[in-house]
Symmetry: C2
Amino acid sequence: MSKSEGSVAEAAPTSERQCCPPIAQQRVDAATAADLAIAFKALGDPVRLQLMSMIASAPGGEICVCDLTPAFEISGSTISHHLKTLREAGLVDARRRASWVYYRPRPALMRQLSALLDPGA
Amino acid sequence: MSKSEGSVAEAAPTSERQCCPPIAQQRVDAATAADLAIAFKALGDPVRLQLMSMIASAPGGEICVCDLTPAFEISGSTISHHLKTLREAGLVDARRRASWVYYRPRPALMRQLSALLDPGA
DNA sequence: CGTCGAGCTTGACATCTATCGAAACCGTGT
DNA sequence: ACACGGTTTCGATAGATGTCAAGCTCGACG
């Protein structure tokens, strides 16, 4: 299974599901829950949540792995593994430039999750 | 370690952390990430996400466990275990009335998570 | 006071996950 | 062509997690 280019986002879980109303307003069905739980699970690790915040708040909209790795005590391969999880969840996108790989956020899913948790009034 | 009453919310992870700016605007520090990752992890299971949505969208602001359990194929003890996870994450609150236990959402944390993921503009 | 039903807790088990080191991969520069 | 540094993948392992069955607790109601 070779993935040739770096800009492809490994595809969000199933199909791009429509943006759902907040859970405070309407129940999510099982399929949607299974879908979105993948994204929440990806954020459910301290390292990944920090990685996500570093990527999302990166000035210029992107950040190099070489700037992410030294911020943690864990090995580079583990960082890479966490980044893959975020990628597969559809939360970030990776792109190679020269020798370095840059990550950028995917605001669409972030917005969807944010809207989902909005308690409304 | 006995917890005697049902209305206490098992306490949010550490202390009630201040509402943080969106991750798109500022990095979260390790302690905050560890804290909030617990909540995201709690939502990172399809069953729990559905439970959360059923609780958050319950008319009257609360819902009986007896209305939650039959919506799934899994055993009651597993439902109870998932509800405990949501409780310990600070996402829901349980209260016993007569023979039944009712769950209600805790909007504060939901709002915090929602704001955290807001990509802003 | 004894029993019944609704939920919770405990113990056990199979699966998943976070982590590491080693090896492979892929541009760059010599 | 070769070696180098950054990143990912692979294989292995300890620990966490989802699930169930069985036992327990707490009110309600005879």
